[in-house]
Amino acid sequence: MDINIYDFYNKMEQDNIMLSFKGNVTSELLTSVLQIMESKMDKLNEPNRIKKKVYNILVEALQNLYHHLDKQPEGAPKGHNTVIFMIGKTEEAYSIFTGNYISNDNAEKLKSRLEKINSLDADELKAYYKEVLNNGMMSDKGGGGLGMIDIARKSGQRLDFDFQKVDEEYSFYSLNINIPQ
């Protein structure tokens, strides 16, 4: 293995990455990451409004990764149950990057949902959120498709996503959430 950790470090420093993780997501890990980010934002004396926005969006983004792992079909290639996420901050904005494998079938479905969310303005998103909240559908974990709508609403930004086809069965799904300060 030929890895220069100093190059890694410099790259992350240039990109203003505060925290990064690659591996398997557990409930305990999410609790720790949320606590770390909360105390980092406290130390930076972020305004309450920004702190809450970033925290809320982070909860949704990380729990999406967590629930995604539950949905991995049996016999999925080893390594496909690991994910990556990074949290960065510049003068202008916080950024949350997430990445995970997804089956091509699910990628198609997710893509059309994300495109729908991106086609809506703020008022339409509010109406859509209430519609999905009130339609009685609930996944066995509770959310039932509200997470991405909530991220779009709270960030006030279009969802910046990409699906990179890996092979006949899988794609790699990446999401970049931008939260302006």
């Binding site: 309450n48 409004r49 809450k52 909860v59 066995d140 974990k141 509770g142």
Partner: protein
């Protein structure tokens, strides 16, 4: 009917339900990965309460954060309260939010638009 008390944790709120006094408090953070199991005892208690309804039921929601997994469960709680209200339970819901937390205020307004119970938006001033 017995009181229901659930102590808060980093991911779940404190719940205090006193059926004798007709008082319900949900306070803290509600961000568990799986909310349905967490809210079930409260939903069940409200179901039982609906049978022997009091004249007035006062509900205080003082949430700092809640995730979308909780949002449907909170709606379930409100729907139970809506039925209690219709049965003569005189429900009032105080939705508390920190003064600069527009997202939390908006979340309360979303519920208000869906649920047929008087909501009162209560601003918590920052210290």
């Amino acid at each position: 009917m017995e009181n229901l008390v659930i102590e808060g944790s980093p991911k779940t709120p404190t719940i205090k339900f006193n059926p004798e006094e007709g008082k319900l408090l949900i306070q803290g953070r509600s961000i568990p990965e799986n909310s349905i199991d967490f809210y079930k005892p409260l939903v069940d208690a409200l179901e039982e309460y609906a049978g022997g309804v009091k004249e007035a039921t006062k509900v205080d929601i003082v949430l700092e954060y809640f995730n979308t997994s909780s949002s449907k469960c909170i709606l379930d709680v409100f729907k139970k309260l809506e039925r209690i209200n219709e049965a003569g339970g005189g429900v009032t819901i105080n939705w508390h939010y920190e003064e600069d937390d527009e997202d939390m205020l908006e979340a309360g307004e979303d519920y208000q638009a869906i649920i047929n119970i008087p909501f009162k938006m209560v601003e918590i001033e920052e210290d």
